[in-house]
C-alpha cells in the first residue's frame, strides 16, 4: 500500500523531510498505526511519536486516529492549527 505523507509547521521543522512517498507493510491500516510505523524509523522520526498534540488529515480532511488508510491516500500530520 502506497501513500503520500506530508508534515507541516513545527513538526516539519523537527523531521528530516516535509513530504515523502512510503510503501506500508501489511498491518499498518489506520492513521494511528501509520504514525507509529513512521515514527519508529529511528531517532530523527521520534517527534511523530513523542509529540502529544499532533493532528492528522486524510485526503485533505481532518480525521481521527482510527481512520483507515487506503492505497493512494494523501495523509498529513501537523501540530494543532493556529490560523485566524
Amino acid at each position: 500500500m502506497a501513500v503520500r505523507v506530508l508534515y507541516f509547521a513545527a513538526l516539519r521543522d523537527a523531521l528530516p523531510l516535509a513530504e515523502e512517498a512510503v510503501s506500508l507493510p501489511a498491518g499498518v491500516e489506520t492513521m494511528a498505526a501509520l504514525r507509529a510505523w513512521l515514527g519508529a524509523r529511528g531517532e530523527a522520526w521520534a517527534p511523530l511519536v513523542t509529540w502529544k498534540t499532533l493532528r492528522c488529515a486524510r485526503n485533505q480532511t481532518l480525521c481521527a486516529w482510527d481512520e483507515p488508510v487506503r492505497d493512494g491516500d494523501e495523509v498529513a500530520f501537523f501540530p494543532p492549527v493556529t490560523g485566524g
Partner: protein
C-alpha cells in the same frame, strides 16, 4: 454568494463588506470580522498553510454555516506568507436578512476556522522565531457550536 480565498495579497475589507451588502435586495444585515497582526514584541508573522486542504476546510465550514443558519452570502479570505504588525490576516463576512443569523454564522466561522483550518503562525521577535502554540480557549470556543 459563497466565496473562499487563500492568498498572499492583502484584501479590501470595505469592498468585501459592500459586495456582501449588495449581493441581493434580501440582505438586511452584514456582520464582518477582520483579524490583524497585533503590535508589541512581534516584529513579523509568517503564515504557513496546507494548500488544497485549506480551501477544502474553509468551504466545508461555509457549507456547515449555510446548513445551520439562513444566510444570503458569506466570504472567507485568509492570507498566507509574511505579515507585519497592523496587517490584516483574515476576513469573515456574512450577509443575512436579519442580524442574529449573521452574527452567529460569522462568529462560528472564525471560531471553527481557528481550530480546523490548516494554517500555522510563526512569530518573529527581536530575539527569536517561534511557532505559535494553539490556545486552549480557542478549542473551548469552537466546541460551543
Amino acid at each position: 454568494m459563497w466565496t473562499v480565498r487563500v492568498q498572499v495579497e492583502d484584501f479590501d475589507a470595505g469592498a468585501e463588506g459592500e459586495r456582501l451588502q449588495r449581493v441581493s435586495p434580501e440582505v438586511g444585515a452584514v456582520v464582518s470580522f477582520v483579524g490583524t497582526v497585533r503590535g508589541g514584541e512581534v516584529r513579523a508573522m509568517t503564515l504557513e498553510h496546507y494548500p488544497g486542504m485549506t480551501e477544502k476546510s474553509l468551504e466545508a465550514l461555509v457549507e456547515e454555516a449555510r446548513r445551520r443558519w439562513s444566510l444570503v452570502a458569506a466570504t472567507v479570505i485568509h492570507r498566507v506568507g509574511r505579515l507585519m504588525p497592523g496587517e490584516r490576516i483574515v476576513f469573515v463576512g456574512v450577509a443575512s436578512r436579519h442580524r442574529s443569523e449573521a452574527f452567529a454564522a460569522c462568529e462560528f466561522l472564525i471560531d471553527r476556522l481557528k481550530t480546523e483550518a490548516p494554517f500555522w503562525k510563526k512569530e518573529e521577535t527581536n530575539d527569536s522565531t517561534r511557532w505559535v502554540e494553539a490556545k486552549e480557549g480557542d478549542e473551548a470556543r469552537a466546541r460551543r457550536w
